[in-house]
Chain length 210, copies 4
Amino acid sequence: MPRLRQRLRTPLRTESFSDAVFAISATLLVLDLGVPRDHYLTRILADWPGFVAYLAAFLTIASIWLHHHTLFSRVRLIDVGLVVANLGLLLGVALLPWPTALLAASLRDGDRDDQVVAVAAYGIVSLVVAGSWAVLSGRLSHRPDLLQSTTDELWMRSNFRTVLGTTLPVLAAVPLAIVAPVGPLGLFLAVQIFFLVISARPTEPDTDRA
Amino acid sequence: MPRLRQRLRTPLRTESFSDAVFAISATLLVLDLGVPRDHYLTRILADWPGFVAYLAAFLTIASIWLHHHTLFSRVRLIDVGLVVANLGLLLGVALLPWPTALLAASLRDGDRDDQVVAVAAYGIVSLVVAGSWAVLSGRLSHRPDLLQSTTDELWMRSNFRTVLGTTLPVLAAVPLAIVAPVGPLGLFLAVQIFFLVISARPTEPDTDRA
Amino acid sequence: MPRLRQRLRTPLRTESFSDAVFAISATLLVLDLGVPRDHYLTRILADWPGFVAYLAAFLTIASIWLHHHTLFSRVRLIDVGLVVANLGLLLGVALLPWPTALLAASLRDGDRDDQVVAVAAYGIVSLVVAGSWAVLSGRLSHRPDLLQSTTDELWMRSNFRTVLGTTLPVLAAVPLAIVAPVGPLGLFLAVQIFFLVISARPTEPDTDRA
Amino acid sequence: MPRLRQRLRTPLRTESFSDAVFAISATLLVLDLGVPRDHYLTRILADWPGFVAYLAAFLTIASIWLHHHTLFSRVRLIDVGLVVANLGLLLGVALLPWPTALLAASLRDGDRDDQVVAVAAYGIVSLVVAGSWAVLSGRLSHRPDLLQSTTDELWMRSNFRTVLGTTLPVLAAVPLAIVAPVGPLGLFLAVQIFFLVISARPTEPDTDRA
């Protein structure tokens, strides 16, 4: 028991550290939007993949922040395992500007092979995020002692299934990239819009929390 | 009712996440101020649009932070709709370093067409900010249950009108850019100074808050 | 009185926003330390002004953070005037990476004229910081109603004089740069070390605070 | 005694400032992962040292954050000496992206001499971190009045020995770099994994804290 207790803490500082990483990663994305040398309108319009990739990545991080907020509002205590899973999630979020830049560049200048590689890189980073998230909600769904109320266990189980469901479009993105390179970009945007809609939908009416 | 309650939360973590995005965006602007290779004085003086654009963008973000602080000090609870509108606001703020760099570069090296495009880009990002803000204060002016006190409803309504009023100079900036390219830069600076003055002016004496 | 009360707030969100700007500005400085193409040891040793400038700028921001922390621990309420003076301080801190890069580059590649310009730029940004700080402590030394205890008034008055004193080496740096370009860099470092020593020295033993 | 008390404060703002520096430094690392011009797969695979260095640096900062969190959860009050030691730690963390980029570049393009210099630079920055940390836990192990409970003194003493132990692989990295340049990179990764395991292990069962 002392062993167990030593490993428990309140999630306060973990939440604020995560928020800082989310905010910086979302704001650093702007550094990829370059300033053209001349013919601004033509060049900006030609760089539309850069703007769609920016939007997809910003919405991804915004959506992760929103769900992180919702998940942690149900958590009373965390142990080291959850902190490490959360650090895996932050690794994925901090990395995200890189495959975003890769995807935008490949749609602008790259050939089909480069585009498949860029989509695969985006997918791998997405799987790091989804995998870490699955560890968070999966572990919490078996640890009612770490949660605010007993009904939060059901929420965690439902959240675990949702996260596994979101890996399917990521896995579908690589073969789609071979057929239609712009396809995965649309898919990534669609997943984020779906995710934002999910977060607005109350899953269990009786687990309300102010 | 349970459905409604589930969607309400305190704005604490939304405020701290927003503050981080504001702080990072305002601080990243410095990366656009390049170091000249030689003839420092001549080149720095020649790059005066870069410094005016830096100042306008910094004051814009500082002013948004100040008003965000004031608005949220009147909010007791937020729902998902407000969180999503706030994410739209953060998208605009995080994007701002890009049209700022564009505007500075176009006044230094670009032709008249490029300057109009840069002003239009700055205007579009400003409208994303103003539009999200109008959703925030517009929605809150009809939701006294989310506010700290009943008089805050009047404040939100007045704030909603102020935000709509600030879109007028943004809309005037594009035609002004065709006539005088430096005009919009002065206009954007003037709007921020006006905005900072507004924030210092107490609107309703009876809604005081320490 | 309602007018006055409406303009007062607790400094909490101002402190956390300032901390974020200090942290980002101090961390962005690292982007100026480039990676050489070859002959690492020779090139890194040749770029010693870059490392000294980095250290001076980091210590400057660390020292400002430390004093900001100390000053605000004595403040109970702030008005819009203090918030705007604090935004001026943040403008200076956010700008600091630019004259730092300028100073390092001028000592590496620039001629005497460029070095004087770089020192002057560093000095102007330092004066923006010092001027904003003088407004903060000067205003607070006449507003006991905004302070935690009555003895804090004396502290603010003493702090105001200290800040005015630190502008002297800044004003001396420009003529010094004409004689010896490396001089101001040593002076800026010395001022920060003096400032860190000052902060460790208790000024009024009876104004203790846990 | 008044002199002593004046120099004591709660570590709250120090913790949040440190968290911001950790988060920014960890997120800035992504800027070193460049976007190739063509042949994405070949070039990304050829840049494997960049990715391993990224991972080692991210895990280093994540591990420092985790231990910082654990150490400060045992601290009740801090004095200026501890704040200055903590600023030394932050200097090391904020610098870390530079030797990381140096190490990655030297393994990609540099000769043996460059690799030894890069490993030495990484080692010096690591020693700045370890040295500041040793001052923190060393000083706290003799100041029970600054700690939450008396058993925390034992924890600080044990932590002090652990930190001294971690300097050994850093000192071993430079001679190892002369023999096998990739060796230190593996060593730095191994140290972080060891450090994360250490943090999960409860050192004294009776010093539990919720």
